[in-house]
């Protein structure tokens, strides 16, 4: 059976790992497990921008798994960018093997607000499933509640659920079943 491997570059509580895996399995119908590999993403650091180049992270991740059968998702603590954008919450290969999500801007502290660990976990799960959705070839969805709705503000992440809408779920079943 095909598997989504999760590579956390930060300490995740066992409870959080558990919730993340369950959510991914329920939404993608693939199994999900943590992958223990020496991968720190430091090669993607850009000294001028003081951020990490997410496309390079994806290239690094791709080499860690069997091409064509599995998918890999990294969760990183640092801020991500692509050259043309000031930042990204995450990036994924559309219909490809790798995805990355950053929690850097998901924390309320980033905006000077008091910490809210539970909220951050929810956001992380949503963004993880969102990016994985892209790796299954799905594009953004206009349905506001759907996890594939594009979020440009972090508050927009809170408005959507961690689930695919009926239409996207159908797509996932088609793609994930391949």
């Amino acid at each position: 059976m095909s598997c989504v491997y999760i590579v956390p570059l930060l300490e995740l509580r066992p409870q959080t790992r558990q919730r993340l895996c369950v959510a991914i399995e329920q939404q993608t119908f693939w199994s999900a497990e943590l992958l223990d590999v020496p991968f720190d993403g430091q090669f993607a650091y850009d000294q001028v921008r003081e951020q990490y180049h997410s496309s390079q992270i994806l290239l690094g991740l791709k080499n860690l798994i069997k091409p064509g059968t599995d998918k890999i998702l990294a969760i990183v603590p640092f801020d991500l960018f692509i050259p043309i954008l000031t930042f990204v919450y995450g990036e994924a290969h559309l219909d490809g093997p790798a995805a990355v999500v950053s929690i850097y801007r998901l924390r309320p502290e980033f905006f000077g607000l008091p910490p809210a660990p539970e909220l951050v976990v929810e956001r992380l799960i949503k963004e993880s499933i969102h990016e994985l959705g892209h790796t299954f070839g799905l594009r953004h969805c206009r349905n506001r509640g759907c996890v594939l709705n594009a979020s440009t503000y972090v508050e927009e992440i809170d408005l959507k659920t961690h689930e695919f809408c009926a239409a996207c779920r159908e797509e996932i079943v088609r793609h994930a079943g391949k």
Binding site: F81, I82, P83, F87, V88, H134, A150, T152
Partner: protein
Amino acid sequence: MNQTISLLVVDDEESVRTSLHNWFREDGYEVGTAKDAYEALQLIERAHWDILLLDIKMPGMDGLELQRRVRQVNKDVIIIIMTAYASVDTAVQSLKEGSYDYVVKPFNPDELSHLIRNAAEHIVLKNENVQLRQDVSQISGMEEIVGDSPQMRRVMELVQTVAASDSTVVIRGESGTGKELIARAIHCHSPRRYFPIVPVNCGALAETLLESELFGHEKGAFTGAQSRRKGKFEMADRGTLFLDEIGNISQKMQMELLRVLESKQFTRVGGNQTIHVDIRLICATNKNLEKAVEEGSFREDLYYRINVFTIILPPLRERKSDIPLLAQHFVSKYAKIMNKEIKEISSEAMDILIRHNWPGNIRELENAVERAMVVGKPPYLKPQDLPFQLAKEALEEAPDQDSLAEVEKRHIRNVLNRNHWNISRSAMKLGIDRVTLYNKIKKYQLRK
């Protein structure tokens, strides 16, 4: 969004092309990339693009020059300029030359996605409203079409005022005064302009037909109703419904109309599903509604419901100073349509037009000019080209004891009108100098 928006990214930096390509593809756009202006021009020639994202600094031809080239052949495509902080000035220049907006590299993803979404929405609305756009362009030259008399200027001021509000308008005036044109002008100046204006001629339809025309019907609602049909109310949703000849509708329809206006909902004929609509209503009539209310043929409650704002279009005979302008407008219009070299109306012919009473108003005038353009020969329309009745009328009415001064006054007035009171041009046509013309204007107390 139910139509795919296509987007072409032109940038010499490969990383920019790839990341934007991926980013927009995720967002459901159809994306193409070009590494320089020359490749872009080839792609633009080969396929249709809704949005062009152009890097301002590229070796060879830069983004600004590319924009100019594209603009020469395509006025509609949305161009967004990508720039670094250092060249924001040039980006501002691009705005002046017709770009939609510019973005500074690196882009804030929020701003970029909002910018592109707005542009996409713009395109969708535009495509849905090609018809409307044609109407708008027709309207934008409208001041010319309806006239420039003080009465019509007042009407156009009212149009501007009422367009901004969402209230119901009743346009009153004799037939042929251009009531539908005014309705369209209101719509096109209103916030609803991106949605359709749907005209219905209530006077032309039998009661049952009007009902299904307005509310639509379900399949099998009546004999001949072979499929479901949307009514004009639904079609005008978020736009404007224009009910012409509202004074002619039956008592039953008056009641139904009142009910819809109050509840903003209705059901299709033969259906039971409630349909909600958001429309602005503009009505027109050539009837005396007050009298109709008094006589009991028009419901008083409906009268008060629709009569929020009234625009009265004066008949053409009460604003004869508009006749030369309108007549000239129709000459140009039909010269173009018929591909004829007739550019003007002789002063004798214009004189006949000005004297006529025009019971059919602008429509009658237009018909008369159209007919004259068919029979007339270049360089200008002569009295014998006009419909026989008009010319005959003029002959009968022409006081044959006109003094020389009378004739001169009339001739000068016509020449002035035809030249829009351009003194130098009129003087030249008359073969006199400007001072003489000024003196004659004073002597005959001629006024614009």
